[in-house]
């Protein structure tokens, strides 16, 4: 898995490529925590490059969303979700828990 973070004025864009499983999820978690630990709670997660996201990745998303939304500080929004991963999010009942965008510009612009 490869992760990149682009900071914008009001939000951060996290882009991950490859496979998120129990082996790589801690890396993803650290990236999100680095942002929230810095007091920034508006995060767009570009998932277009992800091949695979296991429940370990889902855990990272839900924990990050909880951190971001606490005290109404911000939120994690999801962008460009690949079809198979969308099916997993859907089965896990994640769709109502995240705003979902088709393009990064609209996502970053919303935060």
């Amino acid at each position: 898995m490869e992760i990149s973070i682009t900071p914008y004025k009001h939000s951060d864009l996290v882009t991950a490529k490859g496979r998120v499983d129990s082996y790589t999820a801690p890396q993803l978690s650290e990236s999100f925590n680095g942002i929230t630990d810095a007091g920034r709670y508006k995060i767009a997660f570009d998932m277009s490059g992800l091949d695979f996201l296991s429940s370990a990745g889902l855990r990272v998303l839900i924990n990050t969303q909880k951190t971001c939304k606490r005290y109404n500080r911000g939120e994690l929004v999801l962008v460009n979700i690949p079809e198979n991963i969308y099916a997993a999010l859907d089965l896990a009942g994640f769709i109502p828990l995240f705003k979902i965008f088709d393009d990064v510009l609209t996502a970053v612009g919303s935060l």
Binding site: R19, S22, N84, A92
Partner: protein, 154 residues
């Protein structure tokens, strides 16, 4: 001398195929186990989403073996066998870790209220929902999980 027609090759009923491989019980093995089952599912003609479901179920099961059955990395092996026969993929995962009562695992909370949601407990749910049949056995030698996925239109 008579000319025999070529041996018939039927795509719906190819010869049974099986493969078995053992992997060290650590998280770094997950991608390799994923490659192993994905290749077999692909070569057996499963559709894209079915292949993804199979990889997901296997990944979840193997993560549980490392985390819960072995309670940590490098405590034992994960043996993965795949059998493809008549459009049915049977995956058997064996470990030598702690016994487990699979059927009593709770159904996860899927509330759309963020505060009610637990981060844990989704793995077995994916396995049960995305595989067609799931069997779990614990014996003195360890645990055996059997997952069956049938090809649609296959």
């Amino acid at each position: 001398m008579t000319c025999l027609p070529p041996l018939e090759v039927s795509s719906s009923r190819p010869k049974p195929f099986s493969a078995t491989q053992s992997f060290p019980g650590r998280y770094a093995s997950l991608a390799k186990i994923g490659d192993f089952v994905r290749d077999i599912a692909q070569n057996s003609g499963f559709q894209d989403f079915a292949i993804y479901s199979i990889e997901m179920a296997v990944d979840e099961a193997c993560s549980n073996i490392i985390e819960h059955a072995y309670e940590g990395e490098d405590k034992g092996q994960i043996r993965c066998s795949c059998l493809v026969e008549s459009g049915v993929l049977t995956i058997t995962l064996e470990d030598t870790g702690h016994p487990f009562n699979f059927s009593q695992a709770p159904i996860p909370n899927l509330s759309d209220n963020l505060d009610d949601r637990e981060a844990h407990g989704l793995g077995l749910y994916f396995i049960r929902r995305w595989m067609d049949e799931v069997y779990f056995e614990t014996s003195d030698e360890g645990n055996t999980l059997i997952m069956i996925k049938r090809k649609v239109n296959g």
